[in-house]
Symmetry: C2
Subunit: 482 residues, 2 copies
């Protein structure tokens, strides 16, 4: 597939779509706002799922499946929750040719249906903690959609846990944000800032929302995962109580947490370039592609034979593909696999056979090197590790170079569009101040970061609020977001 990709500098938004189309990650569906995840995109999602699912299971969680359809009345049981989600709901009004007595909502998230079941499953402290996750599709009726980043239907996982104490729920919410941080940084090679959302930005129905925020190449922030301490809000709404070990009855404490196919959008915008998609090796469905080079028939036989042997050798440790398509030239194949983001290309021609070597080309830097055929798996594995680290380092450098301190609101307004970036500031404003900030700058408070070690504010413990001027020790990160 030879697809022309618009350069980032020309039109960032078109570049993003072009990368997706060229790599055949997704396509537009006939229903407005919906997408088809094509095999290349889905194979990536499967790798993401496996890595996350292993971490969920290692932290004691089990998977389950709850229904797609939720009675409309359930959503209304938690006041903030219905206010947040009702405007985005898709409604099923007819089934089996008849009008339904009560309309059903297609889940926008599953707290309500899950807590209606937990009521039957939780009796005493012996049933706690209950640590359940589900992988599923959800629907939120969005006005403006973009492939992966914001679609009417998306795939995600949602964890829903129940605990005997407030402290355990809080620890769980923090633990799962830690899992997301590890996944973003170690697997996606995407540095994130972990922190707390403001009251205004928290999940509808939560006591507190934790988030990880990443900087995209256009210096905007993307919320990559959230985890919520729900307190006793849903337990109260669905009357879920338990007997503790002293025989006292209390409402159960809850968390929920989720990441979605949006992460694929984040991955694209963190690493890809004007030549197309760039995949971090740890998540790449194909880590090494072998492109054989030959002209004459005699060369073809010898090169393909050696290529097949190397493929078998590499396959022991790496995800490798041999592109033996006869109808395409090597040049076409180079281009094709570049657009698809495969981290490492292995070229093998007649002269390489003679010299018992191969040519290795990195997708991230384009750097070319020869390597002996002996010990090739080790060399490829080491190079893939390098690429993984280099992608992370590059993204971290971008964020550092575009993170600034602002000490006045005028300064923020002057710089939020140009140069743009992450703006660290002191803040103690109220929700109405935050609304004003957003209206006037189109930026939002991304989070109150846990750590300021690497921030421009790391050495100062206190300052004055950007907007109100009051002294405060509360730091925030402000940026335009996705």
């Amino acid at each position: 597939m030879d697809y022309k990709i618009t350069p980032r500098a020309e039109d960032y938004s078109r570049w993003y779509n072009d990368v997706i189309m060229a790599a055949q990650l997704a396509d537009y569906a006939p229903v407005k706002g919906c997408m088809v995840i094509r095999p290349n995109g889905f194979a990536l999602w499967e790798n993401m799922q496996r890595a996350l699912d292993d971490m969920f299971k290692a932290t004691g969680h089990q998977n389950a499946y709850f229904p797609l359809l939720i009675p409309e009345s359930f959503l209304k049981k938690e006041a903030e929750h219905v206010e947040g989600f009702a405007p985005e709901c898709a409604m099923v009004t007819h089934g089996g040719g008849k009008k339904l007595e009560e309309p059903l909502v297609i889940r926008p998230t599953s707290e309500t249906i899950i807590w209606s079941m937990y009521k039957n499953w939780i009796m005493s402290y012996r049933d706690l903690p209950l640590l359940i996750n589900q992988w599923c599709n959800v629907i939120r009726w969005e006005m403006r959609t973009r492939l992966f980043l914001r679609t009417t239907e998306f795939l995600w996982q949602e964890g829903h846990t129940a605990h005997a104490t407030a402290e355990e729920a809080e620890a769980e919410a923090r633990r799962m944000l830690g899992v997301y941080t590890t996944f973003a940084e170690d697997w996606m090679a995407m540095p994130v800032i972990a922190g707390v959302k403001t009251e205004k930005e928290k999940f509808a129905g939560a006591v507190r929302t934790y988030t990880i925020e990443a900087m995209m190449q256009d210096k905007r922030a993307l919320q990559a995962g959230t985890s919520h301490n729900l307190g006793q809000n849903f337990a109260r709404a669905f009357d879920v109580t338990f007997l503790d070990d002293k025989g006292t009855r209390d409402f159960v404490w809850a968390t929920s947490w989720g990441v979605s196919t949006r992460l694929i959008g984040a991955l694209i915008m963190t690493h890809s370039d004007d030549r197309g998609f760039v995949l971090p090796p740890k998540l790449a469905p194909t880590q090494v592609v072998i492109v054989p080079i030959y002209r004459k028939e005699a060369e073809r036989t010898a090169v393909l034979k050696a290529a097949a042997r190397l493929r078998v050798e590499l396959k022991e440790r790496l995800r490798v593909h041999l592109d033996d398509r006869d109808q395409y030239t090597p040049g076409y194949k180079f281009h094709d696999w570049e657009q698809k983001g495969v981290p490492l290309r292995l070229e093998l021609g007649p002269r390489d056979l003679q010299n018992e070597q191969v040519v290795l080309v990195r997708r991230d830097t384009g750097a070319k090197q020869t390597a002996p055929q002996a010990g090739l798996a080790d060399a490829c594995a080491a190079l893939l590790d390098d690429i993984q680290q280099a992608l992370y380092d590059r993204a971290l450098t971008l964020r550092r170079e575009n993170s600034f301190t602002v000490s006045s609101y005028d300064e923020l307004k002057a710089r939020i569009d140009e140069p743009g970036g992450f703006f660290w500031a002191y803040w103690n404003g109220a929700t109405e101040d935050e609304v004003r900030l957003q209206e006037e700058t189109k930026a939002t408070i991304r989070c109150l970061p846990f750590e300021a070690d690497e921030s421009p504010l790391k050495d100062s413990l206190e300052g004055t609020c950007l907007l109100t001027g009051a002294p405060t020790s509360q730091r925030v990160v402000i940026a335009k977001g996705y």
Copy 2:
């Protein structure tokens, strides 16, 4: 969980529900006809998915994801398809607080949305074959539902392939039925009869439907998986053509094939008994459960230490769980794990420590044996293989003992209720004869089996049609179904 299970002889249908509740496989959802798949049920489904998915990928298929919502007009493009599915559809009429211009159908199956996309993806023979599968949820509005067997929402996989020739499509449909046969027999330990559905029973929109049919313990038939040769029907409906290597344009040839969470219902009814669920070892989320036995504190420490050591040893090769809950007696635990269907129980008490042995108890037969602690993993693995084979053999014996030849319609009518079973017969009737058969006997033609080697009809090549009396070589299997 101590749950009273109704014996099969008393009420087969209640027994089935009791097994599910006792093993905590699923629960009823608040929306009529929907279910919640609980962690024990979902862990089993994950194992089934993994085994099937590996086989799909080994046969060249890739996973993708298509949208949940389908424009109503799409369904109407294939005449038989809409007739079959429209009465079962759930309709989304409102989204984001507004009435939609065109109602959307929640997918009951995805042929229409997928072929609308294939139109954009398939240009020439180079794009073929296109071999795609998706794992997803579907909704079919059912009047009478039963956990796993027939639910309004269910989980399944649906393969959708596109081919350049009729022969390739036919070969694919047969190949995937072969995969289902292997899965049913080798993994589920459930013998099946593979064959073709009659015109009346085929999939709405197919040229030909293949099926695997299994006998449940109440001697009814359950359709466990189907694969369809769709001919050019969907390609015509969605105008999907391709240029062949001679430059001629033709419609693409198609197949689809699927299995669902219904297989969990089949598994339950094939192997379980009056004490609860029985899991085939190859699919069991836990294959071996270790129950430590002790009274005094000194015993406790020594036994738990040895149990932990055995657990680590077995974990290398088997899925093993150590039940070290202190608040329950060994007797309670035996019962608990029996109800949950774990294939092998390992008991370990103070005397076993002295003798350097363990006690092994099979879930399928209840047989008890001692085994030396040295080489225990080998012994357990061998025993699990035995259990897998024994479950298959027992199910096959049940089917053989309850398969009969009938040569007249009166004979069928006299025996279909008592003794019941699978009735082999010659048949050349038309669809109206089949309708009559179903109305009068409540039984259906399950399939025209590929092989009659093990059937009561194996030695005769020709006979006369059960209903019309005309001579024919066409054999069928008739049974009451699920």
